[in-house]
Structure formats: structure tokens, C-alpha cells
Amino acid sequence: MSNVQLSSSAQERLVARRTFPLHRRTSVCRNLFGPVDHDELSREMKAKMREISERDQQRWNFNFEANTPLDGDYEWEEVPVDKSPAFYQDSVQNGRTRVPATPVKQCPSSDSVLPETPSMDVLERLVVPESSSTPCQVEVNQENRTDKLNSGKPSHRQVPCVTRKRTATTDNNTHITDFFVKRKRAADRKSNDMSACHLSKSPIPVEQTPRKRIR
């Protein structure tokens, strides 16, 4: 999927909505770029998607839509599941029924372990200063990070989480992310202090900072 541009604008909108649920209708900033021609946008999106699909199809000589091989450089064959490592098996199973290769149990709690935290976690890893939307999101979700990152249940908010996360982070070297977080925290604190001391000077709630950076 090379539709990074496509998704980023969609994400920005999403971010804005999530961050400012109350202001989103009234805010002047929302209209900075004028009205959106939704039909045009949707047409362009579809065209772009089609273009990407065609490129994919051509590159792999495989029709991903119909799930059928085509003629080309790749010689496709359909292999029975047991002839291939279990890892690939999931592929054609629609992700719905993952056949257990080892005795297993149905474990509804396990999905709470995994998916519960989806975006924050990934955010953590994807924070790099290259996309306009990502840093903002990080700032937005910053408060949730510690417990979201490593706890299976959102309710398990407690000090050990933080400690654990810190350790896990420090023995790895994701400096960029660390940098971001710290910067944001510093900024946060600063604006808090400021609003405390000079109320007139910065009446803007802290959460609005990211908004400016979206632009």
C-alpha cells in the first residue's frame, strides 16, 4: 500500500475530531482551506486506489481482488496448508479462523491483551518527525501512553507499569521517540506554568497545542 498521502489526510481529520470533540464544529481553523468538494475527493481517491491496485496486480501478476493468479513473472501455485509453515496458512483463511497448529484454547481474554491498545502502541514506534500527523497524534495521546503501551487492560493503571515501560524503553534505543515525548512533556509543563502565572498571556488549554502543529 503506497497510499501514505491518502491516509494521512484522513488521519489528520480523525485526529482533529478525537482531540477536539467539542470544538470541532465551531472552530474557525476547520475552514482554513475552504470547503471540501467531497465528490471530487472521492473520485480522486477511487482513481488513485484503482491505480495502486493495478500496479499491485501487475507487479505480482496476481489479481488480489478475485484472488486469482495471472500470467507473468511469478509462477503461482496453490499449496495445501500442511505443506507450508503455519505462518502462511492464515493467509487464505480470511483471518477469521486461525487453525491452531498446537493444542490451544479459546481465549477471549487474550484478545484483550493484544488489540486493546492498538494505536498508541504503534504510535510509539512510528513517531518520527517526518509526517505531519504523527507527531500531533503522539502529543494527543501522550497521557495515555504509559498505561496503554504495556498493559493489557486499560484499567490497570499503576506505577509498576510505568517503571516497566521505562526499563523496556531504556535498554532499547528508540531515541527519536524518547526525544519527542520529553519535548512534549517539557512543553506541557511550561504552558501549564505559564497559564498559572500569566493567565492573561496564555489562556489556551494545553490540549490545543497540537492543533497548531497540525498545520
Binding site: 500500500m1 484522513a10 486469482t68 505462518f87 487464505v92 480470511n94 497448529a101 504510535l123 514506534r125 504495556n150
Partner: protein, 306 residues
Amino acid sequence: MAHATSIQYEPVAEIGGGAYGTVYKARDTESGQFVALKSVRVQTDQNGLPTSTVREVALLRRLEQFDHPNVVRLMDVCATQRSDQETKVTLVFEHVDQDLKTYLERAPAPGLSPDRIKDLMRQLLCGLAFLHSNRVMHRDLKPENILVTSQGQVKLADFGLARIYSCHMALTPVVVTLWYRPPEVLLQSSYATPVDIWSTGCIFAEMFRRKPLFCGESEVDQLGKIFEVIGLPPEDEWPTDVTLSRKNFPPLIPRPIADFVSEINEQGAQLLLNMLTFDPLKRISALNALEHPYFRDEETLTQTKS
């Protein structure tokens, strides 16, 4: 888009749209390389794919640029919209013929040699250290998603996909193995990269035993099996944020690991215990594990047991 293609190629096996129980695999007639498809259907809403999925894919692609030898190659990601509610994401991976599970099963009689195990472990930890330093947890490490090439190269697979599956997992009963799960996950406490080290420890033991170390049938059963080996952890190591009380378990004392993993040498046993440490904070990291004396004797020729 460009033109009809020139080259003709061999026909393909017949297909059933999303046939159950088969895998699409192809050989690149130019390079001879094998690829395989793995597709996942993702629920969508009016905003399209969930942002978590988009990011996860972006992350996988970013990791790909490092071309790490112990991580399975992800060649492409193709999305096709199936309906307003569903998008199919097809991941094109390099195809490796076997995973560690079959590799262990196929190993001739006495099992893998200690050197072979050491080599596999080193590669596994290398791949893991790479993922961890990029802040990726595998979370579901097990012999089935550790691929082993015909040259004996280890390649980690299936990391980072949990998020992509998760949409489904939330909706459908999920089947997962508990055998490689660390205590903190079984207890539903907070967790981080040490989860993978626990799993690696279980796999390490399994390489010697050629059967899994802890085969629990439920979370509690799994924990019980774990404590039978490592002993019941002291009260102060028991996480405070969990519902399951330590009192539910008998006061077991640790048993010598050699009782369970007989072929392992002393340093191996030491490393194994460092990995199977109850407290995730005290568990060894992938990087430190690579520095462990167990791996050190390589150049000076293997010492101890052979």
C-alpha cells in the same frame, strides 16, 4: 497504467476465491525466489482502514528497510476493498519452506546438536533484539512462526500482525496457544518486550526436549505448570494489579532445570533460567542474552558437553 505484458508464463493451479486450507505461493521465474501470500480481512468504517492497521503496515514496511537477516522479508502489501465494511490486506512475504516446529520434528533421532541449538538461539535473539530495539514486541513467539530456511537461517515471522488481526479477534473467538505465554500475560498484568524473552526461553528448552516445556490448558493451568518448574515466586514479585491471587497456587520451590532439559550445558541452563524469570524486570533482555557466556565459547571451540 502500462500495457499488456509480453512474457507468458506457466499456468497456475485453480483457485477458489479464498479457498480454505491453501496457501498461494509463487516462484519468480527471473530470480528463482519464492513468495507467498497471506491475506487478512480488515473491518472498515467510513474512514477506511483503521488507523492502527495503517500504522502497523507502515511499521512493518519501515522495519523492512533494515533488511535484517533474521526477520522474514515482507515484499509488498496490497489492499483491495471488498465492501464498505471490509478491506482485504494481502501481505506478500518471502516463502520459507519450514518453521521451527517442523524443523524440530524432522530432526533425526537424538535431536539437534548443542551447536545447532546455539546457532539457532543466537539468530533468534538477534532477530528479537532487532525488533525490540525498534520497539516492536512479537507477543506471540512460538515455533510455528519462527521460520528456518534450508540453509539453517532463522527468520522471525508474524510479528506486528497482531494489530491487524485484532479487528477480527475482537469479533470472533480467538484461538491462541498459551504454552509460550509469560506469567505477566497469563495474569493479565502489564507487559512489554520481556514477553518475547519468556517465549524464547520456552523455545530454547523445547529445542533440547523436542517437546514443549509448559503445556497448560488454561491460564491458571499454564501458570501452575510454570511454577512447578521455576517455583512459586515470592510475594513481593507478584504483580499487584492482577485479580488472580498468589494464594491460589501451592508453595512450590524451584526444581533444577536440568530435570526438564537434560541435554543442556551449565551456561545454557543459566541463560535459560535468566529467560524464564518470573519478574519481567529481572528477565534478561535480548541484547544481554546475546552477551551471555553461553554464546561466548563459539570461537574457542565448543566447550563442555558434546
